[in-house]
Subunit: 141 residues, 2 copies
């Protein structure tokens, strides 16, 4: 168990189609590190998002990104917030792992896929994503 702090980024208001995957990934990450944004994987969270003012949510989430040692983002479902947070993490020189579920239905944004400042891993099944997470967290030590 590492004492690293991970910010897990995923779509909330952009759509919760992949909520089950988010849950499985966060459960896996918590075996190895602290996940600041564990709440994002809650399957009860709908696209209405967390209650409260957007400005308060923004302040809390940005503070978590600042505190984090690294970011793991699930980027299959398009999301303005995830794109924004990835850019902030890059600005603050935090390592970013972007996990994209390759189903043939979607094409990953060129701004994520083409960024020289982050690691993109395409996975076909959840075990591949978990292996990428293990390797990424080891690289932070």
């Amino acid at each position: 168990m590492s004492d690293k702090k991970i910010y897990f980024a995923c779509s909330i208001r952009g759509g919760r189609d992949d909520a089950e995957t988010y849950g499985a990934l966060v459960t896996h990450i918590t075996t190895q590190a602290v996940v600041l944004s564990e709440i994002f994987a809650d399957r009860k969270l709908t696209p209405s998002g967390s209650p409260g003012l957007s400005a308060d949510i923004y302040a809390k989430d940005i503070s978590w990104v600042q505190q984090a040692d690294a970011i793991i983002a699930e980027v299959t479902n398009p999301s303005l917030g995830v794109g924004y947070e990835i850019a902030k993490a890059e600005e603050w020189d935090k390592p970013v792992l972007a996990l994209f579920h390759e189903t043939g239905e979607r094409k990953l944004s060129a701004m994520i896929d083409g960024s020289p400042n982050l690691l993109v891993v395409r996975y076909m099944d959840i075990d591949e994503a978990k292996l990428a997470i293990d390797s990424f967290i080891r690289s932070l030590e």
Copy 2:
């Protein structure tokens, strides 16, 4: 006609449902300023995006954001790239106008809606969006 350079950001690989709106907005902006990313509003552009490597697209688009005096983003359709570009524009102290079409179907990301560094305008019809653009471009002078 201002000589200001505007980067227009909109969803491409995230989905092209709002392509007609993007076209109308870009046509309107070009009456007042130079739009570096005019191609993004092309109705022939599909979610497959522009041809070419993601790294090349990234380099070109980021260079346009750097050259721009300001960013106008249509943020109704969730998009990783648009979220990323908005954060880059904030990092580089460029004014950002984010236009959200209020239809009741979607809820704007808290990371955009709650950011203290940009101007969010919700519009019900395209004329409201055009008025917001006029006012924003005037504010750049």
